[in-house]
Each structure stands twice: as structure tokens, then as C-alpha cells.
Amino acid sequence: MAIEVEVRLPTVLRQHAGGQATVQANGETVGAIFEDLLRQFPLLKGQLLDDDGSIHKFINVYRNDDDVRYLDKLDTPVGADDVISILPAVAGG
């Protein structure tokens, strides 16, 4: 059975997702959810993943309160009650 979860998008990505702040996506891992997001919103291409297929370095992705880089990255499992949040990585010099 497909699992549908809530994905929260940062303001800078909403323009690529019909202006929505929160969208629904199907998948049992963060990677599968990203694939579904890219199917639904092709304009997100290049915003979520780096050229080598890993999580883009300019975003941070959370499963609830946990940064998925410290879990299993794209393989991090996701359940129906989880919320995935995407925020820009904010850095500079």
C-alpha cells in the first residue's frame, strides 16, 4: 500500500510547486518521496538532488525533527504519520 506523507516546502521552492507550501507525496523512503515530487512537479528538477543523485547541498531535509543526513539520507524510511520538511541551507562567509 502506498504511503502518502505531507511535505513542507520552503518559500523559494513553492514557485515550482504551484505556489503550495505543503504538498502530498507517496513513498516509503525520502528518496521515493523525492521521485514522486519530481513526477508531480517537474520544475523541482535540479532543486532537490545534486548531479550525482544525492540530496542537494543547498537544502536540508528533515523527517519530523531529524535531519535525514544523520539518518539514512535518501534511504531514510518514512511512515504515514511523518512530516517531511525541506528548508534551504543557509550559509555564507
Binding site: 520552503p10 518559500t11 523559494v12 543547498f58 536540508n60 528533515y62 525533527d65 535531519d67 520538511s85 528548508l87 534551504p88 541551507a89 543557509v90 550559509a91 555564507g92 562567509g93
Partner: protein
Amino acid sequence: MLRLTDATYDDMVAHALDELPNEACGLVGAAPGTDKIERVYRCHNAAASSRLYEVDPLDHLKADRDAEGRGLEIVGVYHSHTHTDAYPSPTDVKQAPDPGWHYVLVSLKDPEPVLRSYRILDGAITEEPVELERR
């Protein structure tokens, strides 16, 4: 235009001083569609450096949620420059995530701290006026 109160202005400057010798960084929240900063969210500098900053990702998440709970949204980031002017560095411009954000710089180069705000759109830096509401 960026509008600050004494409290939000002082908080950013105080944070910049508190964090010496490293750069300080944090996020600012405003009601959607407004330019008046209502909340200053001090964040850890995950880079812990005098030349670089990286807003701690979990601090960012907490700030984002707190802002949402108050009917606000994160509308910008501030950070300090410990030895250079209050002007975005090439690294700041390259990594600026959101063209809608305010980019606030606090320079501690001179004895008196200097706070300025910028917009960064497609790599182009535009300074914006900062209006201080004295209470």
C-alpha cells in the same frame, strides 16, 4: 525596506558581539507580506568560524516552526562580519538561497557596529533602507 525596532536591532548587534571571535548568524521573522521584523532567532553557527557561517539546520527548523506558530514567516538571515564591512561577500552571494529574503549584515570592523540590509537577486546585490523605530 527593512523595519526594525530597538529590540530587534539590539538583539542582532548583541548576538554579533556575543559570538566573537566567530561570526554570529540567525534568522528573522515577519508577518507575511510585511517588512517589519517581529522576531530574531539566534542560531548556532555550525561552521564555528570567524570567516564562515552556516545556520544550524535544526535551529532553522525550530525557528521556522516557531514563526509559523506565531503567524509569521522567516523572511531573512543576519550574520556578522568580524573584520570586514557590512557588505555581502562573494560567498554570501553565491549561497543566498532566497531572492525574497532580507540579507542583514552586522559589521564589527569598527568600534561602533554597523548594520545594513540587502536583497540578493540572481547574484546582484542591492542595499535596502533600514528603518529603525525608536520606542
